[in-house]
Symmetry: C2
Subunit: 407 residues, 2 copies
Amino acid sequence: TVQISHLSQQHFPLLRLALLNLHLAPLSPAEKGLEFPQYDGKDRVVDINDKNYKKALKKHSMMCLFYHGPIPDSKELQKQHQMTEMVLELAAQVMEEKDIGFGMVDSQKDSKVAKKLGLQEEGSTYVFKEDRVVEFDGLLSANTLVEFLLDLLKEPVEVIGNALELRAFDRMEEDIRLVGYFKNEDSEHYEAFKEAAEQFQPYIKFFATFDKSVAKELTLKLNEVDFYEPFMEEPLTIPGKPHTEEELVEFIMEHRPTLRKLRAEDMFETWEDDIEGIHIVAFAEEEDPDGFEFLEILKQVARDNTQLPELSIIWIDPDDFPLLIPYWEKTFKVDLFRPQIGVVNVTDADSVWLEMDDEEDLPTPQELEDWIEDVLAGKVNTEDDDDEEEDEDEEDEPGNPICCRSL
Amino acid sequence: TVQISHLSQQHFPLLRLALLNLHLAPLSPAEKGLEFPQYDGKDRVVDINDKNYKKALKKHSMMCLFYHGPIPDSKELQKQHQMTEMVLELAAQVMEEKDIGFGMVDSQKDSKVAKKLGLQEEGSTYVFKEDRVVEFDGLLSANTLVEFLLDLLKEPVEVIGNALELRAFDRMEEDIRLVGYFKNEDSEHYEAFKEAAEQFQPYIKFFATFDKSVAKELTLKLNEVDFYEPFMEEPLTIPGKPHTEEELVEFIMEHRPTLRKLRAEDMFETWEDDIEGIHIVAFAEEEDPDGFEFLEILKQVARDNTQLPELSIIWIDPDDFPLLIPYWEKTFKVDLFRPQIGVVNVTDADSVWLEMDDEEDLPTPQELEDWIEDVLAGKVNTEDDDDEEEDEDEEDEPGNPICCRSL
């Protein structure tokens, strides 16, 4: 006989009440206060063309344009296009309150508009906010897109006012962050800092303090700005204070992080930013003890080698991308319930992974460093094994290269 | 003139290559290795009925049944039902590799099957795994459902083997956790612990160690089990070691956390677990300095008052539920870019919120404690203001109660 999990039995005092709501929201048998928005069927996403684009851009405080290729002939691809439309419609419905408009631009039918607006990459969404355009090249889900848009509505610079707020800042080791110390909100240098912040919002976080004791904790002098690379212990002080907007922008663009975490909001952009066609990719679940341990080793190696300009590692927490886990496991032939590090060729997704016998067999920092050195020297690469026949454990099918590590 | 954000210009060395992939995956102009799964149009979700349910349950290692009310007549609600089907189809497609089957049970047409299988709550999904049924009463998105199912595939108990892994455990203050020290994997007490873990998987996390020095760090004696309530500094040692499975289950079910974080995977279940029709709800963005500061104050108050059995606070990080933010702001009439705490009546979503002039005006721990005391004593409640006319700032429409704090 079947046994219902104890946790489920525990909390149903209001089951009756919950059922009453069902005709309103069939998916969420919730009480009031947690009614998840569902698409109401109203069309809000505008089909942008030569005639309506100016009006559409003027009408809203922010306008969100999805740039897509011509609608395909195949039924399957049409269905996918419809699903994208649904995602945009749901986002548009939810963001109606915030006065954010949505539109779609066809790269073929509306090529003139696309050119005028500077839309370049099909599949990307471009957000027009005042005199700026911000490209969203992330996961096109309603959740990710809405979170991105809400972030764009926030102040571009967060002010740190006391020691407790400083702790919040200290915890954000995953993000590229800048923090500056300025006299007050009216300072012209703070103004330049804010202008620079707007260029990178919401991808890079900007903080400021006007408080002497907070500045002292951060070892910041007046008008000084520190740049925090993800996972590094010490920040870089941007030379030549006070800075113009352009100087800040230039410094940021010159600094590619040694180790960065893949995020839904710019996952495709990050993936496209490879080094000579490859990525060093580490999979580690931070919530898992082995994953956490591996990540600590990885951070150590990244810190010790941050001076190498050609070293760039992407950390993927599989928990953040559950839908991709089975796909990655199949494509890369790795078990993602365990930590993994490998080299991925972005042209053909061919890959080679560091051998670990089991999850207890994590590399030492020295072993990991040696492996990374071999990768950078080309000694570990995705091509060497493709034609090898001597590895008897592997059953390579011709023309279908299998990486050196199988499940 | 329009200026493309610098970050977007930076990373397009492979734009051409990206475009080549477009006909395959119009939504994700990715290179290889990051192809987000899209529904391929194949029907995998089985319409469960009296004749096929036994076979369906036998066929897969895990079976996932969505229990829904009769298909509605209205076009709009039918569209919503179709979207639910799409979510399940995508999850089924992604989880095909893991041998997880999916089905739908209609509460009216298939009431006999539902009764046999013990399905009770429309809108819930029931996962059949060996001799257990686990109810999923969370957000029905492909992401959340797939993550939940993958968690169910993991070992019910995680083993902590060294000091670094222990640090991972220490960081999980948001979760209800248990940790036990046992002689080895063959210990009968570890076996009982594992059986208990299966009852709560994946909602409550179970850890074990067989390592003397780890146990010492945790101040655990042999066969002892500690229970960690979320956000508390000290664990409770479960009395009467060694424990049977039933003793562990009973102890866990008796301990409702004082402060818990709303999670997508059991959000509706948590919301239904109110105290006399109300919830104390705190909104705070952990990534935001003010939100973090407020949360630290809240944790302090929760720790100081954890002995009060009727005190239960739900912390919601708005970042986790972007789609709900505009809905909550409208329903509760609060600004969620700032921290908020209030009392919500779950029957009508009427609410009353602690006044804070601005985000710098956070309450002290003492002020927050006084307010919570007033809530528990019924002095602060959602009803008092409903008929008040003296507050001139408010424009109450009759029959449409407005809470005491407006935007």
